[in-house]
């Protein structure tokens, strides 16, 4: 199915299932501990042995010697594979650092060996017996501030509109500040895990925890130089990914090598410290933002320059992602720099770009509102745009940012807040309120599915993943709606490379793309059923197909009917800017003496097109808000610049928000429909919930204390000296 023009009317206009709250259908499996996660595939690979990885102990350099003799002779050990025994493996899609093979160490905890043993404890103990000698690489300059100073002003701007210099020269008010966001770890609950059967060294089955089956499938073939046809990848349950599991990682590679060496299936999960330093993370950023505005409150210039780091060839983090499109303004200059650094690889993490970009931009907006003497909500409303400001011939497909701000302000009682910073107290706590805008692009990807009607039951096969987001449920809803059936009669079969290729889960494109793919497949099935019955037109409703003289239950169709299709996105979408929008409101308390900051109240208002399932969508948004609390107040990958690694590599020292940090959360979905976006008029929402949250908190801290903090996380060491004396 090609999506060639905006939707006028279709069956979702009178939806009975789509858009309705529905508990996730995989919920009972998860809460009873019976959902088979990648490390627990006793159903599929009951004889799997245990693999355990060894990571490099230096920041970067070369291995000069390895001795695995003691490990090989340790109790229960079946195989040891060291990186020196393996030629450097090819790199899969978007792998920047090599996952295994050869003597080069590109970053701390890069995998250097795998041990396979009868028990987990034996494998782990043996891994510690492997001796590795290194030649350390030359000391590297890991100072991102210094790097920013070097690159600032160099290179062609990514976006350049109008005479920026003139705008700043003529502005009534100017903001010009530096902002810092730290490295962030995805810290999903389930570490990267795989069970792999490559015991014969021929065909390979990979039960893994991955967001993108097809990319993973291709990357495994590339990495090992074998035919994709000989590999099957399954990832039916994923305990969180947040972008960390978009690509092939060392867990699957080591399990495969271990399996081949030991001649048995092998399962392997990365220990938590290796999640931090072996896999990918969100780069820290340094950002300089300059805003120019007139006395009318309209932005006349936006100048955003940022830097992130990555290993050579990587993409880092583009904190300027939203700046070309989010706010009106006649002139702008935008430039992102990626600086090479020998650190663990940086790559996508939930809302890559916008998450860290809005952490800075939305503070800058707050600062400008104050300079102008405007309410920060009103200031954002004044600077709304219905066209892409960097290309004004391109309208937004559907944008209700102003309504998000207005609805939120009303629901949050924004007008009642204290407007003089430091002016509201509750005992020892300084109380503040903050707002921030939210923007995240609305990407879509081609997505396929197969729909099979079998004895009144509808089976949907697609390689789409459910990374905890609710894909099983919303795809079943979409299929049921399209076929006029009950959700209970739909069986979802997902996340298997044997099924049609889907969008996968990432970039909040999963829900809009994969529901469209399932819709396409079901429409193809309808056509086939109608054709089989000799009907030119048919209606599917209440589990029946009707048309002409025919009126029969789908369960009466004895022959299995199967159809496969995929959604393809037409060029017409290029004529629109597509995005999702939101507004975050928070109330914070800052302890007047200690500077401890606690969030007291949160509200998100989201404009993301049709909400396919309000329960699972709300879970996505409140989860994003929780991640935003961590980003604002505690998460910080602590870089040891002398040793070139992240020192706080466990969940005790890398502090994500815990239950006690999270107050009452409210989410309002605007009742919007985006006819340009998808046949369901839906857009993703999983990343929007994070965008802007941290800045709303930072702005609340300013309102509470009168102290502006531009370095995340906003821990008290950064501002305790600036708090009022006690």
């Amino acid at each position: 199915m090609e999506f060639t023009k905006p939707v006028e009317s279709n069956l979702f206009d009178n939806a009975k299932v789509v858009g309705k709250p529905m508990q996730r259908i995989d919920g009972p499996l998860k809460v009873t501990g019976t959902a088979p996660y990648a490390y627990e595939r006793n159903d599929a690979a009951p004889d799997a042995l245990y693999g355990y990885p060894l990571g490099a102990g230096i920041g970067h350099g070369r291995i000069t010697r390895m001795d695995a003799e003691a490990a090989r002779n340790a109790p229960g050990v079946r195989a040891v594979v060291t990186t020196l025994e393996i030629d450097p493996l090819e790199k899969g899609m978007n792998n920047v650092a090599r996952l295994f093979g050869g003597d080069e160490v590109q970053h701390y905890h890069q995998a250097v060996a795998v041990v396979v043993a009868d028990t987990f404890e034996q494998a782990r103990a043996a891994s510690a017996l492997i001796e590795v000698e290194y030649e350390e690489g030359a000391p590297a300059d890991l100072d991102l501030d210094a790097a920013f100073e070097r690159v600032q002003g160099t290179g062609e701007p990514d976006t350049l509109v109008g005479d920026v210099d003139a705008a700043f020269r003529d502005a009534a008010q100017v903001v010009d500040q530096m902002y810092h966001t730290p490295g962030e770890s995805h810290t999903m609950m389930e570490p990267h895990s795989s069970t792999v059967d490559w015991s014969g060294g021929e065909d390979m089955t990979v039960w893994t925890s991955n967001q993108m089956i097809n990319w993973n499938h291709q990357s495994i073939a590339t990495t090992f130089g074998i035919d994709q046809e000989r590999i099957r990848v399954e990832s039916p349950y994923v305990g969180g990914g947040f972008g960390s599991k978009l690509w092939l990682r060392a867990d699957a590679v080591l399990a495969a090598l271990g399996s081949r060496a030991a001649g048995v299936p092998v399962k392997l999960a990365l220990p938590r410290p290796m999640v931090m330093n072996n896999t990918t993370h969100r780069s820290a950023t340094v950002q300089r933002i300059r805003l120019a505005a007139g006395t009318d409150g309209k932005l006349t210039g936006i100048w955003h320059e940022a830097a992130a780091y990555c290993l050579p060839g990587g993409r880092g983090e583009n904190a300027t992602a939203q700046t070309p499109v989010f706010y009106a303004g006649e002139t702008r200059r935008v430039k992102n720099h990626v600086v090479d650094m020998p650190l663990p690889e940086t790559a996508d993490m939930r809302a890559p770009g916008e998450a860290s970009g809005l952490m800075a931009l939305e503070i800058a907006m707050d600062e400008m509102a104050e300079k102008l003497g405007m309410d920060p909500v009103q200031f954002r409303i004044v600077n709304d745009t219905q066209v892409n400001p960097s290309d004004p011939d391109i309208p937004f497909s559907d944008r209700h940012f102003v309504e998000c701000l207005e609805r939120g302000a009303e629901a949050f009682n924004w007008s009642q807040r204290n407007t003089s910073p430091g002016g509201q107290r509750d005992g020892d706590w300084l109380i503040g309120h903050g707002v921030a805008g939210a923007y995240r692009g609305a990407l879509v990807m081609p997505s396929g599915a197969r729909a099979i009607l079998d004895g009144g039951k509808l089976i949907i096969e697609t390689d789409m993943t459910d990374i905890g987001t609710g894909s099983y449920t919303i795809l079943a809803q979409t299929a049921a709606e399209t076929m006029g059936m009950d959700v209970a009669d739909v069986e979802m079969r997902m996340a298997n490379s044997a099924y049609p290729v889907s969008s996968g889960s990432g970039g909040q494109f999963g829900a809009p793309s994969s529901t469209s793919g399932v819709y396409a497949a079901c429409m193809a099935l309808r056509e086939k059923i109608a054709g089989n019955l000799g009907l030119d037109e048919a209606e599917f409703n209440g589990g029946r197909v009707t048309g002409g003289d025919t009126d029969m239950a789908l369960s009466e169709i004895n022959e299995e009917v199967s159809a496969e299709d995929a959604i393809q996105w037409g060029d017409f979408q290029k004529g629109y800017a597509m995005g999702t929008f939101g507004a975050h409101f928070v109330e914070v308390g800052v302890h007047a003496y200690t500077g401890e900051t606690r969030v007291r109240r949160m509200l998100a208002v989201c404009d993301a097109g049709r909400i396919i399932n309000p329960i699972t969508a709300r879970s996505q948004v409140i989860g994003g808000m929780v991640m935003g609390v961590g980003a604002a107040l505690s998460e910080d990958m602590a870089l040891d610049t002398g040793r070139g690694f992240f020192a706080n590599h466990d969940m005790a020292n890398y502090e994500v928000a815990v239950h006690a940090d999270i107050p009452e959360q409210e989410v309002i979905f605007l009742d919007t429909l985006d006819a340009v976006a998808t046949p369901l008029k839906a857009k993703g929402v999983g990343e929007l919930g994070l965008c802007g949250v941290a800045a709303a908190i930072a702005n609340g801290v300013y309102n509470a204390t009168g102290v502006r903090v531009r370095d995340y996380p906003l821990t008290m060491d950064k501002f305790i000296d600036r708090l009022p004396a006690v």
């Binding site: 102990g57 230096i58 109790p75 404890e121 782990r124 103990a125 510690a128 890991l142 410290p273 020892d428 302890h591 007047a592 003496y593 200690t594 500077g595 401890e596 606690r598 107040l633 505690s634 602590a638 870089l639 040891d640 610049t641 002398g642 040793r643 020192a647 706080n648 590599h649 466990d650 005790a652 020292n653 502090e655 928000a657 815990v658 239950h659 006690a660 940090d661 996380p713 821990t715 008290m716 060491d717 305790i720 000296d721 708090l723 006690v726």
Partner: protein, 316 residues
């Protein structure tokens, strides 16, 4: 985790005797810290002596009007005990501020005192650490290191780790006494003040216990009354070690006691600083933290400690 042998002795004295006799022996109580460290091979005992079930799990009243806490009393049981809550509320508050409900259910009184530092370099066996491998160096003191959480006073050029316990800080303010049994079956008393050692050149030696010596009880003197508060400052609201914690006992006449956690290799208190309490937080801290040697990253702890105490003095 390295392979180890295991035994369950008959009584505390036998446990101590065996611990002195068997090479590489280590006591196991709640296991909330030891097992984690064994998995990471930071602790590599050859022999584990399980002291659970030795009957040291009761809180009894002493003749002097205090309480005697068996070493195996769990943190949960201790903090919830009605006598503790009534007469030593500081201790209840400190324990409840630590770890999580699950950990407190398993963690024991003696084990809590013996828990080891959470310095990230101690926890990473690729890094030098004088506490883990004597003489290997201190990564936390090297150029570019991450030291925000670490100690500001009582530290040395060999080690700047802190003691992570909340419970111990309250016990220090309460003048607790550690009772032990030695390998020869003798009993011994060690004031908590003398129990934890400063690192000096030997940061691997953390307590005054002799090899094999087993904590049997912790004794609290008769209640001292006053207003008792524990303020633990941390970045997130739960399940984090203290950046700074302040235990305060304040009497109606303005006198009292102050002990700090999160700043030193042991609960940090001095009589001279206590004496300054009537003169306010600044006066207390200028004595208590005199001689502090913070790093650039953790110098804020000095200000934070003073401001935290100021908030508590205002309240009490």
């Amino acid at each position: 985790m390295r392979a180890f042998s295991y035994e369950k002795p008959a009584d505390p004295a036998a446990a101590a005797a065996r611990a002195a006799e068997v090479e590489g022996a280590k006591f196991l109580a709640g296991g909330t810290n030891l097992l984690d460290l064994m998995k990471l091979e930071i602790e590599t005992p050859l022999h584990v002596i399980d002291v659970n079930g030795l009957g040291l799990d009761e809180i009894t009243e002493t003749e002097e009007g205090g309480l005697r806490i068996g070493t195996l009393v769990t943190n949960t049981a201790l903090s919830a005990d009605a006598r503790i809550r009534r007469d030593y509320p500081l201790l209840t508050r400190a324990i409840a501020a630590g770890a999580t409900g699950q950990l407190r259910n398993k963690a024991t009184t003696g084990g809590n005192l013996l828990q080891r530092t959470r310095c990230p370099y101690f926890y990473d066996t690729n890094q030098p650490c004088n506490k883990r491998v004597p003489g290997s160096g201190c990564a936390a003191l090297s150029e570019g290191a991450f030291s925000r959480q670490l100690g500001v006073i009582g530290t040395s050029d060999a080690c700047i780790a802190t003691h992570p316990s909340d419970m111990a800080v309250a016990m220090r303010a309460l003048d607790a006494v550690v009772e032990t049994v030695t390998p020869t079956g003798m009993t011994r008393e060690i004031p908590l003040e003398e129990f934890h050692l400063l690192p000096g050149d030997t940061p691997e030696q953390e307590t005054a216990l002799m090899p094999g010596e087993l904590i049997t009880h912790v004794r609290l003197p008769a209640p001292v009354g006053g207003v008792q508060e524990y303020h633990k400052v941390r970045d997130r609201a739960s399940y984090a070690f203290a950046l700074v914690s302040v235990a305060l006992i304040r009497q109606a006449d303005g006198s009292g006691r102050v002990a700090l956690g999160g700043v030193a290799p042991k609960p940090w208190r001095s009589d001279a600083a206590d004496a300054e309490l009537p003169n306010g937080a600044s006066a207390v801290m200028s004595v208590l933290l005199d001689g502090a040697r913070p790093t650039e990253e953790n110098a804020f702890k000095i200000t934070l400690a003073e401001r935290t105490l100021a908030a508590m003095l205002k309240e009490s």
